[in-house]
């Protein structure tokens, strides 16, 4: 069984691995690189719990093959805080109690960060449509949207 040698940069660190052709990037992150922050909720791109960015583009890690990641730059939830300083979105989710069970939280945080990088001042509707691919069953989305809008304001003020 010949495996594929892949070279990437994950959360700023060089990362090399071998993977089978049918192994997804999510399988690689979780089972080979111990980055279990990205979660598998469906393995069909319908829940967003495995959201990562690849070369700056928000994607589902379960719908990307490990082999496709060769030569790309990946960021996951584990790369969102810098040292002990939480990203404003991470702090806002805590401040607003925007999580209960928390299984969807990593996906929401990565997706919201990607939104604010493109649109620093989103409306509530723009935020809800951008995050429509991230399913949450505990919160009813109210506090999540409030947290993202609040973090956006803080980031605009401190930018």
């Amino acid at each position: 069984m010949s495996q594929i040698h892949v070279k990437t940069i994950i959360n700023g660190d060089a990362s090399e691995f071998l993977c089978a052709a049918d192994e997804t990037l999510l399988d690689v992150l979780r089972d080979r690189l111990d980055l279990t922050g990205s979660k598998e909720g469906c393995a069909s791109g319908d829940c967003g719990a495995c959201s990562v960015t690849m070369d700056g583009r928000l994607v589902c890690a379960c719908l990307v093959l490990g082999a496709e990641a060769d030569g790309t730059e990946i960021t996951t939830i584990e790369g969102m805080a810098t040292g002990e300083n939480l990203h404003p979105l991470q702090q806002a989710f805590l401040d607003h109690a925007a999580l209960q069970c928390g299984i969807c939280t990593p996906g929401f945080l990565v997706a919201a960060k990607s939104l604010l990088e493109r649109n620093p001042d989103p409306t509530e509707e723009e935020t809800r449509y951008w995050l429509a691919g991230n399913l949450c069953r505990c919160t009813g989305y109210d506090k999540i949207v409030r947290a993202v809008l609040d973090a956006a304001k803080i980031m605009r003020e401190t930018a």
Binding site: S2, A21, G45, D46, V59, L115
Partner: protein, 300 residues
């Protein structure tokens, strides 16, 4: 679960190739009917994981020169087979010329799916409810096919022939989609019906492209429906109904009637026959009105 057993070595491991040229891609595909083309992967990987397909080889076309570019050509646009919906939505000129096609591409899945999914993948997956296909057909788009016997251009509506089946032969792949120049005083629109506001497969989809004269009267019209037949459906008499009108109520009710009657849907987990036929008419009129107001906006 299909498991392809090798006589003595257990399951054959799937291969992964990422060719740098169309010729190499064609070569990889030509000798293996179990090979699958990978562009965005948002359909292919779902079916792979569910075990509905067990390809011998995946051919990733994203490293082939030109596959990821949008270029101007004869006043229109040539969109590479690996251009994602998100990239199409970020191309302002493309949106100005063909807002309907760009909208359709932008409706495929969530933001995360938009980052990968391509209109060529959407077309070649040959799903009856594919969002981009009705808009492309209304826009008279063509697909460039490369294969062992060279390159040819085909109307988009001739690609899907049955659910999950295309007219492509072994070793052939679509390398790009060509959108003709948007005629002066012309525009288009795409609408779909889904039960939620996001994340659903279209229950009905409708693409409309119109060209007006300087007085705002329709001179050209194409209407295509999705999810109401095994493949995309052209509403043949739409032109006849709309040409010469300014989308007055009579024209619109005739259009709705034509659209509902040509629709040939099934009952499934997403909608009933009656519902799809009713909503085909409703959506066609709504899309026609948007296309008309956009086209009117461009009248010089």
């Amino acid at each position: 679960m299909k498991a392809r057993l090798h006589p003595n070595e257990g399951v054959i491991a799937m291969q992964f190739q990422s060719p740098l040229s169309v010729e190499d891609a064609v070569a990889f595909l030509a000798d293996d009917q179990n090979a699958r083309i990978l562009s965005g992967g948002t359909d292919l990987l779902v079916r792979l994981r569910l075990g509905h397909i067990a390809p011998s080889k995946i051919v990733d076309i994203k490293k082939i020169e030109g596959m990821r570019s949008i270029t101007r050509e004869d006043g229109g646009f040539r969109i590479g087979a690996a251009v994602s919906g998100a990239e199409m939505n970020e191309n302002h000129d493309l949106y100005l010329a063909w807002p309907g096609v760009v909208e359709a591409a932008g409706l495929i899945g969530s933001t995360q799916i938009q980052g990968r999914a391509t209109i060529v993948g959407n077309l070649c997956n040959a799903g009856p409810a594919a969002d981009s296909v009705p808009a492309l057909v209304a826009a008279s788009a063509t697909a460039r096919i490369a294969g062992p016997s060279g390159v040819r251009d085909v109307l988009v509506q001739d690609i899907p022939i049955a659910p999950g089946q295309t007219s492509l032969k072994i070793g052939e792949l679509v390398t790009s989609i060509f959108l003709p120049a948007q005629p002066v005083n012309g525009s288009d629109a795409y609408l779909r019906f889904i039960p939620r506001t996001e994340m659903d497969i279209a229950v009905v989809g409708c693409g409309v492209s119109l060209k007006l004269d300087s007085a705002g009267t329709v001179v050209q019209a194409r209407v295509a429906l999705g999810a109401v037949a095994p493949t995309v459906l052209l509403v043949e008499n739409a032109a006849e109904i709309l040409i010469g009108t300014q989308l007055d109520d009579d024209a619109l009710s005739a259009l709705a009637e034509a659209s509902s009657s040509v629709a040939n849907p099934i009952d499934d987990k997403r909608g009933t026959i009656a519902f799809r036929k009713d909503v085909s008419g409703v959506l066609t009129c709504r899309a026609a009105k948007i296309a008309y107001s956009r086209a009117k906006g461009t009248v010089k």
